[in-house]
């Protein structure tokens, strides 16, 4: 498996995104400068409708910016075609969505194997091994043959994380991965993310929830289409006098 050694995985220079809306365009992102380096855990925060999901879709090569420069592992990607972006996504990006987006007619194992099935040169055996490892990594190996309708919301989200990891991506992108979960399940997913980060994975996560956002190394705040604030964990710790960090990992708060 090819592995990117470039220190900066995502590099945004003056990136903007506008959607055609009626006669005038709707400029959702105006001037984004942002780097996500290897091994970082970045969270993106901001009010609803500020463009977090849009930003993530650009980072994940699901969409292309309407202006500015976007580099993925040093390679400019804004002019790539749909097929080339698909191949890059498949190789290097793991997605976890708010809705776990499992396909109901496929078993847990088949859902996890989905990204691998789009990749050429992966043997059946290899694919099965990776699926097993990924599911074991999220504690879902015992549910391989289950169907999504037989899982709880939190279990589904863990399967979705396994799916994102099965292809051994360069970066994990998550859009409100805890949005549909209750606190307890949300925390379970977050502790999973922390562990993954500790193992050296690069993660970029959009979240509304300040408490979960605070678990990231770095938080990027969006407002009106641009980054208004970037703070690191250390900075936040120094600033904190309030109870933002009062809960600890893994311990449910009632």
């Amino acid at each position: 498996m090819q592995c990117f050694t470039h220190p900066t995985i995502i590099e945004m220079r003056g990136v903007g995104k506008a959607f055609p809306a009626g006669s005038a365009d709707c400029h959702v992102l105006t001037d984004i400068h942002l780097n996500v380096r290897q091994g970082e855990f970045v969270s993106v925060a901001g009010p609803s409708g500020c463009g977090k999901t849009t930003l993530l879709s650009l980072m994940g090569l699901l969409d292309v910016p309407t202006k500015g420069e976007l580099r993925f592992a040093g390679q400019p990607v804004q002019h790539l075609g749909r097929a080339q972006r698909a191949i890059l996504r498949n190789r290097h990006i793991g997605f976890v969505f708010q809705a776990s987006n499992l396909i109901e007619d496929l078993s847990v194992a088949e859902n996890v194997a989905l990204p691998l099935s789009f990749r050429k040169g992966i043997s059946r055996h290899e694919s099965r091994r990776r699926v097993r490892d990924a599911l074991a990594g999220v504690g879902m190996a015992h549910r391989m043959r289950y169907y999504p309708s037989q899982l709880s919301g939190g279990q589904k989200q863990r399967v979705a994380v396994a799916r994102a990891l099965a292809g051994n991506p360069t970066i994990l992108l998550a859009d409100e991965p805890t949005g549909n979960l209750d606190l307890r399940n949300g925390e379970a997913v977050m502790s999973l993310f922390s562990r993954l980060h500790a193992e050296g994975r690069t993660i970029c996560m959009v979240t509304h929830d300040e408490r979960f956002g605070a678990m990231a190394e770095r938080t990027v705040r969006l407002l009106d289409g641009h980054v208004v604030d970037e703070s690191t964990h250390q900075q936040r710790l120094a600033e904190s006098e309030s109870g933002l960090d009062q809960y600890s990992l893994g311990e449910p708060v009632q």
Binding site: F95, S100, N101
Partner: protein, 787 residues
């Protein structure tokens, strides 16, 4: 209720979906047309017989084991007499060819001679007669009346010349009148005098006092037949008896046409499935709108919207399907053997057919709307459920109903296409066989020297000689001659003795000198008929290759032996090549005898059954036949009618007509089936793509390239289609194994199957192209905005 603004809103909404309306009503109209076509044909033969007394009428006489129709001879007719249980009886000759002169118009027509009791026994009352009978005059068919009315409006009372004698038209037959074959006029049958050999093949009808008298009457006919003994042809008397006339109608008509009507209705049902799929497509595409409306209290929204769509599609589809069905009836009518038709009334979808098809269409559309609405309701309920349970998962498979419908459609279409391919391969093979004679620069003209003006064989020979010598002297004419049949004809058959014993009926023709050459038959050995083969000369004959083989003949120098009592044998002086006579391209043995030497009794029979032909060959043949021949014949024989000249090319293709019609029929049927199936597949896969938009964009987000997504949808389509194709081909094999329908020509099985499969694969590709490219064009970011 404010349904009026609602309806106009619906209509506007529909107008924004022109493709839906076009496809749905187009698909339905094909089904409606097929159903109208099938049901009309069925209805046409299920008409009550055009003989008011039919329930108590029996046809009696001899029959052969494989033919339910009975033949009567004058002796047997007399011997049976009129027992007490018979209220009235009548007899008719086989229809014959006659020359009719009306005003300045001369035509060759079909006439049937019937005695005075015949129509009375059937209960048929002609119109326009003063006494209900025809006396010594003629009754004309409604079709001929219409034609004659163009010449002189008052038809009844007009005098026409039939084969040289004046006959007064005494009345007009009812429009639906038909006695097993179409004739233009009925002539009176002179009191039975046993004059011609034709009299052995008459048809006798008896009106029984009650239908239950049939058994004793049949027994009486059998007794009478036994008393007379075998007829000159040595036919078995064991099969003599009486048959209710209704049985003869039912025997020939019903089974195949029920099947045909059923196929038509099936096509309508298949079309209905498509409409259902299309309605679902449209509703799935508007499912969010529907969900919102339902939240705001429009509980019946899916049903109402499906119902409105079905209604609109139904009205449009029926309006387009009606003329389509009428056209289909016109296309299919030639396939109905005339013997099946009961009534002569023109075949058209009547109110009965239309109301039946309208009712079926209604049922099909109600089902289509219910299925469509139920599917959308199911999807909405599913959405509600999963919404509650937090993280919605995506359902992507189409319901098994939709897949099963498409599979059945594909299988049915494959079956029909296979039969279409069988028809094509048969026509192809047949077209590849040589007609067996030279068709270039040759024409034939039909004529019929009437018995009255030319009673003796010698007078016909003289007429033939006169016309021949005049025509052959014309520039551009290489050969001219007479024949009782064209090279491909299946007209007259005679029994000939085989060498090993037994006899066989084979085509038999008389030819004048020049006839063989003019028709372009290939002389393989010996000589053709010449002037010196006169009535006093040694009897000679020509045969074809197939005769030599089938009859174990010695060839030149051998003899042909007619099976009839006292028939003269003739020495074979020439052998000609086989001609393509039937739709299988098989060569039948055939015998040709000089016109001057034919047995006069046989000739009398032949000339009443069928016309004679003048064949002309040479660069000027066509112009001579159309310009010079009428005046030459007019001078030699004033009241003789001539048919328009027919080129030999057309004669050569006549045996292909059946094969060509088969191709046309199956091309139509399988064309309809393939396009309906393609529409069904299209509808199913666009529903599927529309319904699984999010799952598809998820795949794309996870790294599926547009090409992979395209392949994904195509693969899914082919999983269903290939199963259907295999099923259809299997069905074809089973049907072939039991010899149902057309039989595949040997060695074409693989080609036919491959071709049929290819057509279906192509149809599937066309059908799935649009949904697959829609899937490939989906934007992966959608998955982030799924709900």
């Amino acid at each position: 209720m404010k349904w009026r603004p609602q309806a106009s809103r619906d209509a506007h909404a529909l107008a924004r979906w022109p493709a839906f309306m076009l496809l749905a009503s187009g698909t339905l109209s094909l089904g409606v047309a097929a159903a109208i076509g099938g049901v009309t044909l069925l209805d046409a033969v299920l008409q009550p017989p055009p003989w008011p007394n039919h329930e108590r009428v029996a046809i009696y006489g001899r029959r052969t084991p494989d033919d339910p129709m009975r033949a009567m001879s004058p002796q047997l007719y007399d011997a049976v007499g009129q027992p007490a249980m018979v209220l009235s009886r009548g007899i008719a000759r086989i229809p014959e060819t006659v020359n009719v002169v009306a005003g300045r118009h001369t035509e060759i027509l079909r006439a049937q001679r019937v005695d005075t009791g015949f129509l009375h026994t059937l209960g048929v009352a002609p119109s326009g007669t003063t006494d209900g009978g025809m006396g010594h005059g003629a009754l004309v068919s409604e079709a001929l009346r219409a034609r004659l009315a163009d010449i002189a409006p008052q038809v009844v009372g007009q005098t026409i010349v039939v084969d040289g004698s004046n006959v007064e038209i005494r009345g007009v037959l009812p429009a639906e009148y038909r006695f097993f074959s179409d004739v233009d006029l009925l002539l009176s049958l002179d009191p039975l005098n046993g004059s011609t050999a034709l009299d052995g093949n008459m048809t006798a009808v008896a009106l029984l006092s009650s239908a239950s008298d049939i058994r004793p009457f049949s027994a009486r006919v059998l007794r009478a037949a036994r008393d007379i003994g075998p007829d000159p042809h040595g036919e078995d008397v064991r099969w003599s008896g009486a048959t209710p006339i209704d049985d003869l109608v039912a025997y020939r008509a019903r089974a195949p046409l029920w099947g045909f009507a059923l196929s038509g209705v099936l096509v309508l049902a298949v079309a209905g499935m498509n409409v259902s799929q299309l309605i679902s497509t449209r509703m799935f595409a508007r499912i969010d709108e529907t969900a919102v409306k339902m939240v705001f209290g429009a509980r019946w929204e899916p049903w109402r919207s499906a119902g409105f769509d079905a209604l609109a599609v139904g009205v449009l589809g029926f309006a387009v399907g009606l003329p389509g069905g009428t056209a289909l009836v016109r296309l299919f009518k030639p396939f109905i053997p005339p013997a099946w038709l009961v009534s002569a009334a023109p075949m058209a979808p009547g109110w009965r057919v239309l109301s039946v098809v309208a009712a079926m269409t209604f049922v099909v559309l109600v089902l289509a709307a219910v299925i469509g609405a139920a599917r959308v309701m199911g999807r909405l309920r599913h959405r509600e459920r999963t919404m509650m349970s937090g993280a919605p998962a995506m359902r992507v498979t189409t319901g098994w109903t939709a897949s099963a419908l498409v599979l059945a459609q594909v299988a049915l279409a494959t079956l029909l296409v296979s039969y279409g391919m069988i028809a094509v391969s048969r026509a192809w093979l047949l077209a590849g066989t040589s007609p067996g004679f030279d068709t270039a620069d040759g024409v034939v003209v039909e004529l019929h020297p009437p018995m009255g003006a030319y009673p003796e064989l010698s007078s016909v020979v003289r007429l033939a000689d006169a016309i021949r010598s005049t025509v052959s002297a014309l520039p551009g004419v290489e050969a001219v001659g007479w024949s009782s049949d064209v090279p491909t004809g299946r007209g007259f058959r005679m029994p000939f003795l085989r060498r090993g014993g037994g006899s066989r009926f084979i085509p038999f023709a008389v030819v004048s000198p020049g006839g063989i050459e003019a028709m372009g038959l290939r002389l393989l050995a010996g000589r053709t008929v010449v002037e010196s083969d006169g009535s006093d000369a040694h009897p000679v004959a020509m045969v074809n290759e197939a005769y030599v083989r089938a009859f174990g003949s010695r060839g030149i120098g051998g003899f042909v032996r007619p099976a009839g009592r006292g028939a003269r044998e003739a020495r074979i002086v020439g052998i000609v090549g086989n001609t393509r006579r039937d739709a299988k391209g098989a060569a039948a043995p055939a015998v040709y005898v000089p016109l001057a030497q034919v047995d006069p009794h046989v000739f009398a029979l032949m000339r009443q059954l069928q016309p004679l032909f003048v064949a002309i060959r040479g660069p000027a043949a066509a112009t001579v036949a159309s310009d010079a021949l009428p005046s030459i014949v007019g001078e030699a024989a004033p009241s003789l009618a001539l048919s328009p000249p027919v080129p030999l090319e057309r004669i050569a293709d006549a045996p292909l007509a059946g094969a060509h019609r088969d191709v046309a029929l199956f091309a139509t049927l399988s064309g309809v089936a393939v396009s309906l199936t393609a529409a069904g597949q299209y509808a199913m896969h666009s529903v599927e793509v529309a319904a699984s938009r999010y799952a598809l964009s998820l795949r794309m987000a996870l790294g599926a390239t547009p090409g992979q997504l395209l392949a994904h949808v195509v693969r899914k389509a082919f999983r269903v289609a290939l199963s259907g194709i295999v099923l259809g081909l299997f069905g074809t094999c089973v049907m072939q194994h039991f010899s149902l329908g057309m039989v595949m020509p040997a060695g074409t099985a693989i080609g036919v199957s491959m071709a049929a499969a290819l057509v279906m694969v192509f149809g599937t590709l066309v059908a799935v192209a649009a949904p697959a490219s829609h899937a490939a064009a989906l934007e992966p970011w959608r998955v982030l905005r799924s709900d």
